[in-house]
C-alpha cells in the first residue's frame, strides 16, 4: 500500500479538511501518513496545495517526487493543472468544474476542461449542486472527496468514520450533511465508471 495524493485548490476552499479526513482514516488503519500543507500568506486567496502520502512502509520525504502522484484531487479546475508535473503516467485527476475566479483574466473554462481531459484518466465533477442537495454548498469539498475516494486506497467505510469523527464537534446535522455529500460524490464517480 503506497498512495501519493496532491490536494489542490484556492485558499479557503477547504482542502485541509479533505486532508484531515484522509489522514485520520489512514491513521486508524495503522498506516503511515505524511501530509505537507500550506499556511500563511498563500491562504489569502492564493493557490494552495497539500502533499499527502500514505503507506504501510516508512515514508521519508514530506514532499511527493515529480511524476509520482497517483491522484490529483482538486476543488478548482485550473488548480488541478498546476500540479500536472507531479502526476504519474497512470495517475488520475479528479476535479471540480466550478471555477474560482479571483484573477483577471481567468482562462476560458472550456479550454481548461479540455486541457484536463488530455490526461487519460480524469473525472470532472459539478460539485456545487450535489453539495446543495446534501444540505450545504460548503460541503462541495466533501463531494469531491467522495468522488475521489475510490482512488485513495482507503475503504469508503473508513473515510465515513473519519468524517463522523471530524464533524461531530459541529453537531450531528453537519455530520449528516457531509456524509450525504460524500456519498453523492462517490455515486457520481460510480456512474461515470460503470
Amino acid at each position: 500500500m503506497n498512495k501519493n495524493i496532491i490536494l489542490a485548490g484556492v485558499g479557503g476552499q477547504g482542502i485541509l479538511t479533505i486532508a484531515a479526513i484522509i489522514d485520520l482514516a489512514a491513521m486508524n488503519l495503522g498506516l503511515k501518513v505524511k501530509q505537507a500543507e500550506v499556511h500563511g500568506m498563500s491562504q489569502r486567496g492564493g493557490a494552495v496545495e497539500s502533499h499527502l502520502r500514505i503507506s504501510d512502509k516508512e515514508i521519508f520525504s514530506d514532499l511527493i517526487p515529480k511524476g509520482e502522484a497517483d491522484l490529483i484531487l482538486s476543488v478548482e479546475p485550473m488548480e488541478s493543472l498546476r500540479y500536472i508535473p507531479f502526476l504519474s503516467k497512470k495517475g488520475i485527476i479528479v476535479t471540480s468544474v466550478d471555477p474560482f475566479i479571483n484573477i483577471t483574466p481567468y482562462p476560458d473554462l472550456q479550454n481548461v476542461l479540455n486541457e484536463i481531459k488530455k490526461n487519460p484518466e480524469n473525472i470532472l465533477v459539478d460539485a456545487e449542486k450535489p453539495a446543495r442537495e446534501a444540505g450545504s454548498v460548503k460541503a462541495s469539498n466533501i463531494v469531491m472527496l467522495g468522488a475521489a475516494s475510490p482512488f485513495t486506497g482507503i475503504e469508503k467505510e473508513e473515510l465515513e468514520k473519519a468524517i463522523e469523527k471530524l464533524f461531530l464537534p459541529k453537531g450531528n446535522e453537519t455530520v449528516q450533511i457531509n456524509l450525504r455529500a460524500f456519498n453523492a460524490g462517490l455515486n457520481i464517480t460510480k456512474q461515470l465508471r460503470k
Binding site: K32, K34, Q35
Partner: protein, 531 residues
C-alpha cells in the same frame, strides 16, 4: 502512550507540555505560530497552568522566557527565523549568562521564503552564540528532540536552539507521546556573578562558555539524533536535519546503497565527521538552508571532494526536494511533464471587504494629487497592497521599518513622508521609531491600519487593542494630530480629506484607520451565533 496526527509545530508543543514547561512565550510568525496556538488551545496545558499568551515581540518573549528560567522553571520561546534577529541581543547574551531552569528556543526557518522576506539559516545563530542546536528531521524526532533539549539545557546550563523548517512545521504525521515530567519548583538563581554581565563577569562567563564547547561536541558524538546508515561504494552523503528525508527517499526509490551520515545535533560531532570524510572519495553535503557546514568542511584551499550547494550539485537557494536529490545522485529520471500554458499564476490577495482595501483606495487618490508614489510599508496582510489593483506601497523590509524609513525619507526631503503599518506590527516594533520622529519633530504621517488582530498569521491577539491612541499621545504626538478614520466606502470623501490635512501638517501625525479584520469578525460572529 497515545498516538496523534500532528503538525511538526504541534509535536514540538506537545513535547513542551510533556517536558514540564511552566510557560511558553512567542510572537506569531509563519511557520512557527502553531506551536504556541497548540498550547493555548490545549485543555491539558490549561490544567497545568502553563502560561501561553502572546508577547509584544520576539525580544520581549525571549527575555520573559529567560526570566522564567532564572526563577528555576522550564520555559520555551518560539519565533520565525527573522524573529530571532529581533531577539538576538537577548539570545546571544543568554548563552553567556547561561540558564537555570531549562530553556529551549524554537526557531522555524522558511527556506524558499513561502511567507518571509529572507531565508536566513538559524543554525548560524546557534554557532554564533555557542549553544547546542538540535535539528530534527521528522515529526516524531521533533517531539523527541524537545524532551531531550530540555534535559540537555538543564545539564549544560545553556539555552538550546531547536531549529525546524516550514516543511517540518507544516507537515503532519503520526506522533507518539513518550513521557510526562512535572514542572520544576520555584528555585531562583542566586549566583549573581553569572547573571550580571558586567565586563569582569562577562569575560569569565565567556571563557566558561568556550571551555564547555568540547563537552557539547562530545554530546553530539554520542547523540541518538546523529547516526550512520551503512552502505557501499566510494561516495558518501552527509545529510543535515530535514534533508535526511530527501536523501533517504532517493536512496530507497532508486535502491542506491550509498552510505549516509545523518546529523541533527550540533556542534558538529567532529570525530564522526572526520572518520566519515576519510572513508570516501566524494562527499555530497545536503543541508536545508544555507550551505554552512559545506563551506566549513570544504575549507580553504577548497577540498574538491566536497559537493553540494556551492558547486551547483544542488541548487544554491530554496528548499530541497526529492527530485533535486535524485538529480544530484546522478539518477536518470523520466522527463517531467510541464504545467500547461493555460494555467495563470494565482497570487494571494486582500480579502473581499478587508479594511486595508478601503484605506489603500483613499490613500491612492491622495497620493495621485501629490504626484508622489512613496509609501513606506511594513510586514502584514497590508503588504499585499504592493500587488494590483492597489500597488500603493513602495517598501516592506522588517517589522517597524515603515515608521523609521518614512522619518529618514522625510529628513532627506520627501514629502509627504507616509508610513502604513498594522496595529500588531506597530506595537511589535513601531513605537520606538515614532518616538524618534516625535523627538526630531519630523514631518511624517504614520497610518496605523488597525484591524485589531495579527491577521496574516491567522488572527492572533494584538497587543495594542484599545491602546493605540494613548500610546501615540503618551509618547508625545499632539492630540489634534492623532486622527481616527473608519475605512469604509461611505467614508471615502471624509477619509481623503483627513489624510490630506495630515499630509499638510509639518510635524508628526498619526492616522488610526480602524476597522475589524473581516476574517476575525466572521469568526467572532460564528462564535456568537453558537452561544
Amino acid at each position: 502512550m497515545d498516538k496523534q496526527l500532528l503538525l511538526g509545530a504541534e509535536a514540538v508543543a506537545l513535547a513542551a507540555i510533556d517536558a514540564g514547561i511552566s510557560g511558553i512565550y512567542a510572537y506569531p510568525g509563519t511557520p512557527s505560530t502553531e506551536i504556541t496556538e497548540f498550547i493555548q488551545k490545549s485543555e491539558e496545558a490549561q490544567k497545568l497552568n502553563i502560561r501561553s499568551n502572546w508577547s509584544a515581540n520576539e525580544k520581549t518573549a525571549y527575555e520573559s522566557a529567560l526570566g522564567m528560567s532564572y526563577a528555576g522553571k522550564r520555559s520555551m520561546v518560539c519565533m520565525k527565523h527573522v524573529g530571532l534577529n529581533v531577539a538576538a541581543d537577548a539570545f546571544i547574551n543568554s548563552a553567556v549568562t547561561g540558564v537555570n531552569g531549562g530553556l529551549v528556543l524554537v526557531v522555524a526557518d522558511d527556506p524558499s521564503m513561502h511567507s518571509s522576506q529572507n531565508e536566513q539559516d538559524s543554525r548560524f545563530y546557534g554557532k554564533f552564540a555557542f549553544v547546542p542546536v538540535l535539528e530534527p528531521s521528522n515529526q516524531q524526532e521533533a517531539y523527541d528532540a524537545v524532551l531531550y533539549s530540555f534535559e540537555l539545557s538543564e545539564k549544560v546550563k545553556l539555552p538550546v536552539l531547536l531549529r525546524i523548517v516550514t516543511r517540518l512545521s507544516h507537515s503532519r504525521s503520526v506522533v507518539e507521546r513518550k513521557l510526562k515530567r512535572t514542572q520544576n519548583a520555584l528555585q531562583p538563581e542566586n549566583e549573581k556573578r553569572k547573571w550580571i554581565l558586567l565586563p569582569a563577569n562577562a569575560r569569565r562567563q565567556y571563557v566558561n562558555l568556550l571551555n564547555i564547547q568540547k563537552d557539547l561536541a562530545e554530546l553530539s558524538e554520542q547523540s541518538i539524533f546523529n547516526k550512520v546508515i551503512n552502505g557501499t561504494g566510494n561516495k558518501g552523503i552527509i545529510a543535515f536535519g530535514l534533508s535526511f528525508n530527501y536523501v533517504m527517499e532517493a536512496r530507497e526509490k532508486y535502491q542506491l546503497d550509498i552510505p549516509v551520515l545523518k546529523i541533527s545535533q550540533y556542534p558538529l560531532p567532529e570525530k564522526a565527521v572526520k572518520e566519515f570524510l576519510s572513508k570516501y572519495s566524494e562527499i555530497l553535503i545536503v543541508e536545508e538552508g544555507y550551505p554552512i557546514y559545506e563551506e566549513i568542511l570544504k575549507g580553504f584551499p577548497q577540498n574538491e571532494k566536497i559537493k553540494g550547494r556551492l558547486d551547483g550539485t544542488l541548487p544554491r537557494t530554496g528548499e530541497l526536494n526529492p527530485d533535486y536529490l535524485a538529480k544530484a545522485l546522478g539518477v536518470k529520471t523520466s522527463p517531467e511533464k510541464k504545467i500547461p500554458e493555460i494555467v495563470s499564476p494565482r497570487p494571494p490577495e486582500l480579502c473581499k471587504g478587508c479594511s486595508h482595501r478601503d484605506l489603500y483606495e483613499a490613500l491612492n487618490i491622495v497620493m495621485k494629487e501629490y504626484n508622489s508614489n512613496h509609501v513606506f510599508s511594513d510586514i502584514g496582510c497590508y503588504t499585499l497592497g504592493a500587488l494590483p489593483p492597489y500597488e500603493t506601497i513602495s517598501t516592506c523590509v522588517d517589522m517597524g521599518a515603515s515608521v523609521t524609513m518614512a522619518k529618514g525619507a522625510s529628513d532627506a526631503g520627501i514629502h509627504p513622508a507616509v508610513a502604513v503599518i498594522g496595529d500588531s506590527t506597530f506595537t511589535h516594533s513601531g513605537i520606538t521609531g515614532l518616538l524618534d520622529a516625535v523627538n526630531d519633530k519630523s514631518s511624517v504621517t504614520i497610518i496605523i491600519s488597525d484591524n485589531s488582530t495579527t491577521a496574516m498569521t491567522g488572527g492572533q491577539d494584538s497587543a495594542g487593542i484599545d491602546k493605540l491612541q494613548n500610546i501615540c499621545k503618551g509618547i508625545g504626538v499632539e492630540e489634534d494630530h492623532i486622527r481616527t478614520i473608519i475605512p469604509l466606502k461611505n467614508n471615502l470623501a471624509e477619509n481623503i480629506k483627513i489624510i490630506k490635512d495630515e499630509f499638510e501638517y509639518k510635524g508628526v501625525s498619526v492616522i488610526i484607520a480602524s476597522r475589524d479584520c473581516i476574517q476575525t469578525a466572521r469568526r467572532n460572529k460564528k462564535k456568537q451565533d453558537k452561544q
